[in-house]
């Protein structure tokens, strides 16, 4: 699946280049086009969802240069040269990411529409806090709205994924383990 030659690209616009899920991509689109629309329309990565279009619901969350961003608020020109991860880049080759596995078994996803954004927020959290407290999980997910679950099972899913990842890491020599106060 390539952006080149797709109907909606416009060769008159200068190329904007970035990496998505480890792949180099180049798009010719208006520079103020929302990153969300570029992902969905030009790159056909429809896993990233639009919920509100104003940065409140977090459904369009993606990771960009190790930051969590609402892709509905990012003009694509700001993504020039960036390293972007979407939900499609989370699964490790054929197997599910520990977060996806954990959401599946702990009831972290119901209708599924907030799920891609929620997973990206959780991945961002775990990248910076391998063993988050419940308060840290709540804070890390505070920008992502879920109307189905009441969040309890999402918290449990993230905590379980962190434990899973910890135990995976524990198989290797552990350098340091940080415990956060609740």
């Amino acid at each position: 699946m390539s952006a080149d030659g797709k109907a909606r690209t416009n060769a008159d616009w200068p190329a904007i280049r970035f990496t998505v899920n480890g792949e180099s991509r180049s798009v010719h689109v208006p520079p103020m086009k929302r990153l969300l629309d570029v992902l969905r329309e030009d790159l056909h990565l429809t896993g990233t969802k639009e919920g509100c279009g104003e940065g409140e619901c977090g459904s369009c969350s993606v990771r960009m240069n190790d930051e969590l961003v609402n892709s509905c608020l990012v003009p694509v020109l700001q993504a020039e040269g960036a390293d972007i991860q979407t939900v499609e880049g989370l699964a490790l080759e054929s197997s599910l990411h520990p977060l996806q596995e954990s959401f599946l078994h702990n009831g972290g996803a119901q209708c599924g529409i907030c799920t891609p954004g929620m997973l990206m927020a959780a991945a961002q959290l775990l990248a910076h806090s391998s063993h988050p407290s419940e308060a840290e999980i709540r804070e890390g997910l505070a920008g992502n709205l879920c109307r189905c679950t009441g969040f309890m099972r999402i918290f449990a899913s993230v905590a379980a994924a962190a434990r899973e990842t910890e135990s995976e890491l524990a198989k290797e020599p552990v350098v340091e383990q940080t415990h956060h106060a609740r």
Binding site: K49, G107, I113, R138, C148, F151, M152, R153, F155
Partner: protein
């Protein structure tokens, strides 16, 4: 405990059927879907609450020949959205009755061109007088609907209320109000429609009830049954909000597709979705209650009024459920409920999880605490003295035949929450602290399935078939929108057929492929449809035993071999069943008397709330939910339903306010319509007691709506416990708390520096 006490698959936390697709971003929601040559649609809406359309002009700056424009004149058959009463036009024709009423439709190949075009359609009106409240409507200064503004009324009577007042030791009165509430599904409303002379109209969409949309399309298009097709796409939350509204949107997109000759996608943005689609009915409930000297209920007189908005939509059935839940889980010999739904010039209100019950239960359970205070009784003790028990009759004189134990649910809720010790502790601490804490309870039931004879009228058909490729398909029109339909019905089929969870697939929710097993509403899927699927599976096994030599015990290989033999000898391997009412059901639609629901789920909820008397914020610190919902088919999903419903109930009580100005919603954004976030929800502790219901799918009763009923009254009762102040209206925002608390304890303004 029951015939189903040991099961292999039912009752276990199997992974969500469509879970992996949702987790990897592969699940296809309507906005993820495209059709070849697809255009985009948009809606021109009324900007006034009521009036005559004088003129419609199209600004010449737009190249209108590139657009398709649809008006009421383009409707092939009837300009009516078919639901219950035929009063709502598909497109306004000469007259508007509420703001945001659709007037005309535009389509264009480039969706970015639509916004400017919408602004270039100028509509002039001759305004007419309008009504915005129940009070204005019931005064009938203006008649805006029918002969008297009354969309529907019910009168429920039991015993002799009028003679009870003279015998009463206590009479307690109260008035309670609940506000509108937005579903706030994270996926907005959306459909794609296609039209051709050969195939008729096809609609894909985010929706709960394919056959409701089917019926609406047949009403608008002059097409036979086989030229109307509705397919549900993955649906990102619904909560009742996609029960009735998708019928309107589907008709709109269908009309644009027919006229333009292109597939047309219509997906609302958040502001349009919030402003123009249905919400929970606002309600006003007045109670007058007589009690004897021991605190036993003697008589209840209830006046329950809802604001239905400009058209009848589902107001009658919402009012019905409100009426039947208004007296709570209590024994009372004399009852009169007068319920009315009033027309106003507001966007029509519609279905929302609980469907009238949360409004009625808020009033009843708040009122119980007012009664307790008036009698000097503990709220727990007052409820215990009046609980319904097995063998007794409720307000419609339905005998409570099934086992029930409200007392035990209450005991468990008190124990798990440490209710009495916490109340005592908070009473000590509150005197010295600006943070006032309190505990509140709510006891309630929720009727499962359609009201009264509704399930008989639905006459649902569901079943299973086995494809030549060896896949068992569940054939239902019931849809998945997060609540677990796919998983639960798969579990039931796998269990009943004696094969594996992975052997079962759900047939596509497509009216060309699945029978009408009724709408996905009213907490009916697990109990009613689940039971039909269970029966159809058992019927298939009998068939295979009789006609294809399936043994008494069998492996999954033997099952599929028997299916192949059956196919060779008899053709298609399929088993369908219709709804059958449990025996002894009697319901009088006129008198509202008899078996109101096939079964009830029961619950006692406890809220711990902290009120900050400096900031006037109220925070739910902890929540306990004890319920009996029959057999729990999937422990993780069942708890997830309860937790999600409670979070919505917390929003209903403390956060979510629909602000209207001149009949239009002014906070139609997620920025200013506030729902609870990950940082707002308290720990929610969920407990199930299980009494399998023999007429439900593997013993299930309804679960989906129940958790929305209890939080609001429990929270406001806790606030009363914390502050001593009775708040009687929701949503209860900090400014409302300020008004109520300042009235009794003048606030010391902090000195300015």
């Amino acid at each position: 405990m029951s015939a189903h006490a040991t099961t292999r698959i039912v009752g276990t936390p199997v992974p969500r059927k469509e879970g992996v697709d949702k987790l990897v971003g592969r699940a296809c929601y309507i906005d993820d879907m495209e059709r070849e040559g697809m255009w985009y649609g948009a809606t021109v809406r009324s900007t006034i609450p009521r009036g005559l359309i004088r003129s419609i002009t199209f600004d010449r700056r737009i190249e209108w020949d590139q657009f398709t424009v649809v008006t009421a004149a383009d409707i092939p058959r009837e300009n009516i959205i078919q639901l219950i009463i035929a009063d709502q036009p598909c497109l306004a024709d000469g007259k508007v009755n509420h703001c945001e009423e659709p007037i005309l439709l535009l389509a264009h190949p480039d969706r970015h061109k639509l916004r400017e075009a919408l602004g270039a359609v100028k509509i002039e009106y001759d305004p007419l007088p309008h009504l915005f409240t129940i009070e204005e409507s019931e005064r009938r200064d203006q008649v805006v609907w029918g002969a008297d503004n009354l969309l529907k009324s019910f009168l429920l009577e039991k015993g002799d209320v009028d003679s009870a007042w003279a015998r009463a030791a206590h009479i307690v009165e109260g008035e309670y109000r609940t506000g509108a509430q937005e579903h706030l599904y994270i996926e907005n409303q959306g459909v794609i429609a296609e039209y051709s002379a050969q195939d008729g109209v096809t609609v894909w969409g985010s929706l709960q009830c394919p056959y409701y949309v089917f019926k609406a399309l047949r009403g608008v298009f002059d097409l036979p049954e086989d030229k109307v097709r509705v397919v549900q796409t993955e649906t990102g939350g619904a909560f009742g909000g996609k029960e009735d509204y998708p019928s309107i949107l589907a008709c709109h997109a269908g009309l644009l597709a027919k006229k333009s000759g292109h597939p047309v996608k219509m997906v609302y943005d958040r502001m349009e979705d919030l402003a123009a689609t249905t919400k929970r009915h606002p309600a006003r409930v007045r109670h007058r209650t007589a009690l004897d000297k021991d605190g036993k209920l003697l008589a209840m007189e209830i006046h329950l009024d809802t604001d239905g908005g400009a058209y009848a939509t589902l107001s009658s059935t919402v009012l019905s459920r409100a009426t039947l839940h208004s007296t709570g889980p209590y024994l009372c010999p004399n009852v009169r409920v007068r319920a009315r739904s009033w027309a106003t010039n507001l966007v029509p209100y519609g279905a929302f999880r609980g469907f009238g019950a949360p409004q009625a239960i808020f009033a009843m359970e708040r009122h119980m605490d007012e009664i307790a205070a008036a009698l000097g009784l503990d709220p727990v003790e007052l409820r215990r003295r009046n609980f319904l028990c097995q063998g007794e009759v409720n307000a419609t004189e339905q005998v409570m035949r099934e086992p029930m134990f409200l007392d035990q649910l209450l005991d468990r809720a008190l124990q798990e929450s440490d209710y009495h010790a916490k109340r005592a502790q908070f009473a000590r601490e509150n005197a010295e602290s600006p943070i006032k804490r309190g505990m509140g309870i709510a006891a309630f039931y929720h009727g499962s399935g359609f009201t009264g004879s509704g399930e008989l009228y639905l006459n649902s058909l569901a079943g299973v078939d086995v494809t030549p490729e060896g896949k068992v398909r569940v054939l239902v029109s019931n849809t998945e929108f997060g609540q677990g339909t796919n998983t639960i019905l798969t579990q039931i089929a796998a269990e009943a057929l004696g094969i594996e969870y992975a052997d079962i697939t759900m047939a596509a929710p497509d009216t060309d492929m699945v029978p009408n097993s009724g709408p996905t509403v009213a907490s009916r899927t697990s109990m009613v449809v689940g039971h039909i699927v269970e029966r159809a599976c058992l019927q298939l096994i009998s068939m295979l035993r009789e006609k294809a030599g399936l043994g008494e015990t069998y492996t999954r290989e033997e099952f599929f071999a028997a299916c192949a033999r059956y196919r060779d000898a008899h053709g298609e391997v399929s088993s369908m069943c219709r709804y059958e009412a449990p025996p002894g059901i009697y319901w009088d639609d006129q008198k509202y008397h008899g078996e109101a629901y096939g079964a009830y789920a029961w619950a006692v909820y406890v809220a711990q709330v902290a009120v900050d008397t400096v900031t006037y914020s109220a925070e739910v610190e902890n929540f306990w939910a004890v319920q009996e919902v029959g057999r729990v088919l999937h422990p993780v999903m069942a708890a997830g339903q309860i937790e999600g419903g409670i979070a919505q109930g917390i929003g209903y009580a403390l956060y979510e306010k629909v602000v209207l100005a001149d009949g239009r919603m002014t906070n139609n954004q997620m920025t200013n319509y506030i729902m609870p976030t990950a940082e707002d929800v308290p720990p929610i502790h969920v407990y199930f007691e299980e009494i399998p219901f023999r007429h439900g799918g593997y013993g299930a009763k309804g679960i989906g709506e129940l958790p929305h009923d209890g939080p609001a009254p429990a929270i406001l009762n806790a606030i009363r416990d914390a502050t001593g102040v009775s708040f009687t209206a929701i949503p209860l925002l900090p400014e409302d708390l300020y008004a109520g608390l300042a009235a009794i304890q003048p606030v010391e303004e902090p000195a300015l520096p």
